[in-house]
Symmetry: C2
Subunit: 159 residues, 2 copies
DNA sequence: GTGAGTGCAAATGCTTTGCAGACGT
DNA sequence: ACGTCTGCAAAGCATTTGCACTCAC
């Protein structure tokens, strides 16, 4: 396991990816590195990239960028709301450009494929939870584990 | 944040905790350390304990137990199905004795409180997911983040 | 020119591992 | 006695941090 390549569930188009130049609006500087990191995140729109994945792609375009810079910038982009950090169950964090409509992640326990599901697929989950426990579900994405269609039917795409 | 003390949602009694002596059946040895670790897990039935939490409690009863042993034993107990490992969103794993009825975790993003919700609270989630994506939800527990009643109403229990 | 941002190297925190000795069976 | 487990110390790995230098503004 450990691939985390996304298989778009039903081809949803990207929703207003946002722009790193909004950084300047918040008084931050738009450096070469930050642009490259943003580009890296956009380069593979349907995949979730780990910090190292990002660093790899960034270095292809701008060699010598340090991992620390990638980590620091990802944190920054998350804080600015331009990037979403996701916990896909593994030991590292994954990042994707922020989107308009909230979604959740289906992670295949066998091949690592990640699929997005729209928030509405959860149905009345939030209400049920509030009713039974009083908890108010936050906006954080859910990671749900299971078997993707390919792995269910025998052979995985990536094994 | 970072407490992870459980607030039982509605006092459900523990369901057949299992017994570490089943270890012997699988050819493993029942050592002092393993018993102490098992006891530690049972000692606070409504809390999720980190490996370090376990180590702490174990040392109170049997000093000198090494963290490695705790990690190794927890892995073993998980492999044997006696213990459940849970990812509560933080950087460490949490453990609890395995139970009969599957449940999921509600984690308060503010105070760290953890509540169990029965599997049935999810409603038709598995079917919805299968219908829209073809994924078969596995048996793995869900971690859902939000705000607990106390934190919603202003002040947290533990802040 | 000035301070935010970067590179570098070292530190951190959880967890794993190699190995020699200890103990459950 | 045999081989599994344990303790210890060191290694791993993702991530963070301190500090001097650099570059976006």
């Amino acid at each position: 396991m450990g691939h985390h390549h996304a298989v778009s569930s039903h081809g949803h188009t990207h929703d207003s990816p946002g722009d790193p130049s909004t950084l300047r609006a918040s008084g931050r500087r738009l450096t070469r590195q930050r642009q490259a990191i943003w580009n890296a995140l956009l380069s593979e729109p349907d995949r979730h990239l780990s910090a190292e994945d990002v660093a790899e792609r960034v270095r292809a375009q701008l060699p010598g960028v340090n991992p620390s810079t990638v980590y620091r910038t990802l944190d920054l982009l998350v804080a600015e709301g331009l990037v979403l950090r996701t916990d896909l169950g593994g030991d590292r964090a994954y990042y994707e450009p922020a989107h308009d409509h909230p979604h959740h992640h289906l992670v295949c326990e066998r091949c690592g494929a990640v699929v997005h599901v729209h928030d509405e697929t959860l149905g009345s989950l939030a209400e049920r939870i509030e009713r039974t426990t009083g908890f108010a579900m936050g906006s954080r994405e859910l990671s749900i584990f299971g078997l993707c269609p390919a792995c269910r039917s025998g052979r995985s795409t990536t094994e």
